[in-house]
Symmetry: C2
Subunit: 582 residues, 2 copies
């Protein structure tokens, strides 16, 4: 037996007990006449003590030779500490050591195994197995485990079945970003790894399973943005005989359950916002509503006053930033530079200071009177010491730019509080997006997304105005889940394919398999999928997905710890009947 | 709203309620003046009724045109049935229909959606989404879901953390059966899909996570035996600071929990049997102990009587098959043919009938007196009307052959009762196996398996006798899980590599990555993995893994439903910088 207790559980109630602990030497302080060792395991840290008076000389010597991260087993008696540490559960006691066994030695680790380490990102990723020993990393993985358990509990209690769908599936022509897997048994043929189990979950509805979920790995072979991974995890869900309302209720219930369970936070019924409203009010289909600074449109007030910059543009729109009248002229100039960066690409903004005395000072004073600015302020509900920031441009662009500015200011003003959770539904997404390059409509979600029944008549006359039965769950400025009611009617599906510019043959080639299944009694169904990595990180008050993945890959899709991907043997290529191209 | 209730929940307590159900038309009986419809969903079947007296004519007409597997929504009133069906929960009531909406039509399915279908295996696999509508298939998937939930519950309650390990990993030279995945972003380089998360779970122990589990997909690109799948699911587990005893206790607790939860069966502490004993007594390292027919060795009794067939062989061993004296000479001849099939490859057996009157009749009467045969019978504890079957050969071969015979007879005698569960541990496996072709030792489990401390001294002198701290959990004649205590001591590990014929360079190339990690304080650890597909099927009293997988592949590794694997576009190959060989 390696231990009687973990390093996290002993306290004053165990006084005088003889115990055995096993763990890692976290800190060792050797005063010669006295040695303290912080022994660490997953559950905590317990202090070991040895001293001249009470400890064998040979044991003192043995202890003095221990190094950091040595694995030891220590036996001794629980005693009361002289100087207690109220910050840890074991802080009132220590172990007067009677025996130590060295279970394994350790080289000096390449960075310190402490909450604040001296190791850089790259080094820590290379030695991820040491990084995970650090509390902040370990706790994130424990948090992820808890969320997964609670998700499963909630959905199982609601009669959802977790069904494993295959990982080795079929590549489809539109699956340009599929990872493919050559089959040894079927030379020249390939499996593909799923970008999502979309087809299979719809088949499970055709199969009558009624309520499906799965916490499942998905794969995408694409250029990786800062916070994307080639393999990622989804909570994938689908339900039969439901309308959008049923789905929204079940899944906002899930998030409420998680917030209640892990943070003891009660959340009201989620607000719902149409896509159109979200774009108008926040310039963003995943608005962070933890704070205000909503957009206010000023066309009627700002145009026609001789200020050409505003007059010539489609939309004049602004936000009022609380307390930012404190910004100096230099601060404002720097903010201006910030929004002019290519990533945002705004040309500029007009600023209006709301002074303490109720007067205004603006960068466009030449064109706008105090009265005009007062009208702006009234529209924006600006308060004393606010700084109004007003931009103009074509509606789509300027909204996006102003949204970036709003989020940046929220960061600076610390309005994005990590322990506050403001979920909402964004609904009524457009069914279609017009692609200016290809001069055709694309499905905004996917070709199986159902239009709103009341908009179907517009499919022929005005496709751009057709709204979908599609919905995103948004939390603190992040889309954490999204889905739709699917089309189960074959005629409507054909109409959709036509609209998307598929010939019958193309539709058959790409989606024939699912279409065929739909001929055998496809029920009305719909669902959604959560990005699990993101959900977990946001629920933990972070936006860094990578920290919540045990063994993440870097921006090149590389696992620097195991050094994958890597070349493989020629013999292996030969067996697979493939060869490399220069 | 599509339904007020499911098709499985209405009963006499709902009498006179107005309800709406949605589901599939399972059976329709049209007597002209009266129409009954069995409406089916995942939860059950509810009978709908329409008749001339009480139903609108137009509705009768609509109903008469429904086909099997049409998806409909029906509204009506719960009434008491005239002829009740006590076999289903809804059997006392029916719905007097007031409205029907056809939600979707269906083509005639290619086989009947009934418990006993007319569809063959291949057809059902091709239309798996229809096959799953059948109760026996659906219930197996529900059973699997329940087992997965209970496994997670049990392990989480015991402080195990479910950690997702990567699916895109590194191919190793010994991974000849790895599926590989070309990386678009790293041309010429490949990921591999894991055959198991072995390395990662050991790293998680080095990382201090203490107790890990994962229900996880694993992959093996190999010729598929009847009941193997290229992707399969494991319950993968690992623990730190444990000895073999700790692991056996935790995981027999898991199986006990499952048996209790799903079958309400209480199982005692598992018997333990050494590998040597299992081989001697059952000729098999995964003995089915639901029944007897143990092996009895007869060298001392059978040799030296002039029967050369026995005299010249290493081992004479037999079993006594209860009641099989009923076999005619022809039956016995056919049994003889059966064991002579190349799959088993036995040359023959000697049979001895134990007659009602206590006399014996044997195929080797010429060499053995009644007294000799009585001695055989005493040794084997043979009863009246038993048929003793005795084989000879070199020990390894003959045990294997006799084991096959024992299992076959158990099937015929219906001793392998699907609702009986007889788990055991097989322990003390040999550490090494001698490969006659390559003239070297191979690790029986893997090179990280720890030898028993008391056997370490034999590593140099008599490697074949060294036993491992390795164990298999066996249930009803199937290995459902297996694992070992790992080597965490680097010196011992080096010794193992040497013994296995690895040069230092080779060891570094193949295992260097894990070895490096072990230099930073690797704790004592061990674990095991269950084959989840098999575990589920055996717990459900079946041995057909495929039935418990939603979308299984066939013996060629092919998903006949989606037709994968399949050729991919040349453009896709080009992007991956690979080409096909002729």
């Amino acid at each position: 037996m390696f231990r009687t207790h973990s390093c996290g559980e002993l306290n004053i109630s165990h006084l005088n007990q003889k115990v055995t602990l096993s763990g890692w030497v976290s800190v060792i302080r050797d005063k010669g006449f006295m040695i303290w060792i912080d022994l660490r395991d997953r559950y905590g840290i317990t202090q070991l003590i040895l001293d001249e008076q009470r400890t064998d000389k040979s044991l003192m010597e043995k202890a003095s030779k221990l190094g950091r991260e040595f694995v030891i087993q220590a036996t001794g008696t629980v005693i009361e500490r002289e100087s207690k540490n109220p910050n840890i559960p074991t802080g009132e006691i220590e172990i007067l050591v009677e025996a130590i066994e060295i279970l394994n030695e350790s080289k000096v680790p390449p960075f310190t195994i402490e909450d604040k380490t001296d190791g850089g990102e790259e080094l820590r990723m290379q030695y991820r197995y040491l990084d995970i020993r650090r509390n902040p990393v370990k706790e994130k993985l424990i948090f992820r485990h808890k969320i997964a358990q609670e998700v499963r509990k909630y959905l199982s209690d609601k009669d959802f079945l977790e069904v494993e769908t295959p990982v080795l599936i079929k590549s489809t022509p539109e699956g340009a970003r599929d990872f493919v897997v050559p089959s040894r048994m079927n030379p020249g043929e390939f499996y593909a790894l799923p970008q999502s189990p979309q087809t299979f979950k719809q088949l499970l509805m055709v199969a009558g399973l009624d309520k499906y979920f799965q916490i499942v790995k998905c794969f995408r072979d694409e250029d990786l943005r800062a916070d994307r991974q080639p393999e990622f995890t989804q909570i994938d869900c689908e339900m039969t005989f439901v309308e959008q309302e049923d789905i929204l209720n079940i899944f906002e219930g899930l998030l409420r359950h998680l917030l209640k369970t892990v943070h003891n936070i009660e959340v009201d019924k989620f607000p719902r916002m149409t896509y159109a409203e979200a774009m108008k009010k926040y310039g963003n289909d995943k608005p962070d509503i933890r704070f205000g600074m909503e957009f206010h449109e000023l066309n009627d007030l700002a145009k026609g006053k001789g200020f050409e910059v505003f007059d010539k543009e489609e939309l004049v729109v602004g936000i009022s930033a609380p307390t930012l009248n404190s910004y100096t002229r230099k601060d404002i100039d720097r903010l201006l530079e910030w929004i002019q960066r290519p990533q945002i690409g705004a040309r500029g903004f007009v600023w209006v200071r709301v002074n303490e005395d109720g007067s205004f000072k603006s960068s466009a004073d030449k064109f706008y009177s105090q009265e005009d600015l007062k009208a702006f302020a009234d529209r924006m509900n600006a308060q004393k010491n606010d700084l109004m920031l007003i931009m103009a441009g074509n509606a789509n662009d300027v909204r996006k730019q102003l949204s970036a500015l709003r989020m940046e200011l929220a960061e600076r003003l610390e309005l994005r509080k990590p322990d506050e959770f403001a979920p909402l539904w964004v609904v009524d997404f457009p069914l279609l997006e017009w692609d200016e390059d290809e001069k055709r409509w694309f499905a905004m979600h996917h070709p199986f997304t159902s239009p709103k029944p009341e908009d179907i008549s517009k499919l022929k006359t005005n496709p751009g105005e057709v709204r979908a039965n599609a919905y995103d769950m948004v939390l603190n400025g992040n889309e954490i889940g999204g889905g739709s009611i699917r089309i189960h009617d074959q005629k409507l599906q054909s109409q959709m394919f036509e609209l998307l510019g598929f010939t019958k043959e193309q539709a058959q080639e790409q989606f024939g398999f699912l279409m065929n299944a739909f001929q055998y009694g496809a029920p009305p169904h719909g669902g959604l999928a959560f990005g699990f990595d993101r959900l977990v990180s946001i629920l933990d008050g972070s936006e860094t997905i990578r920290d919540y993945i045990a063994f993440p890959k870097n921006n090149s899709g590389r696992d620097v710890m195991i050094d994958a991907p890597s070349p493989i043997d020629k013999s292996q290529l030969d067996e697979l009947k493939i060869s490399l191209k220069k």
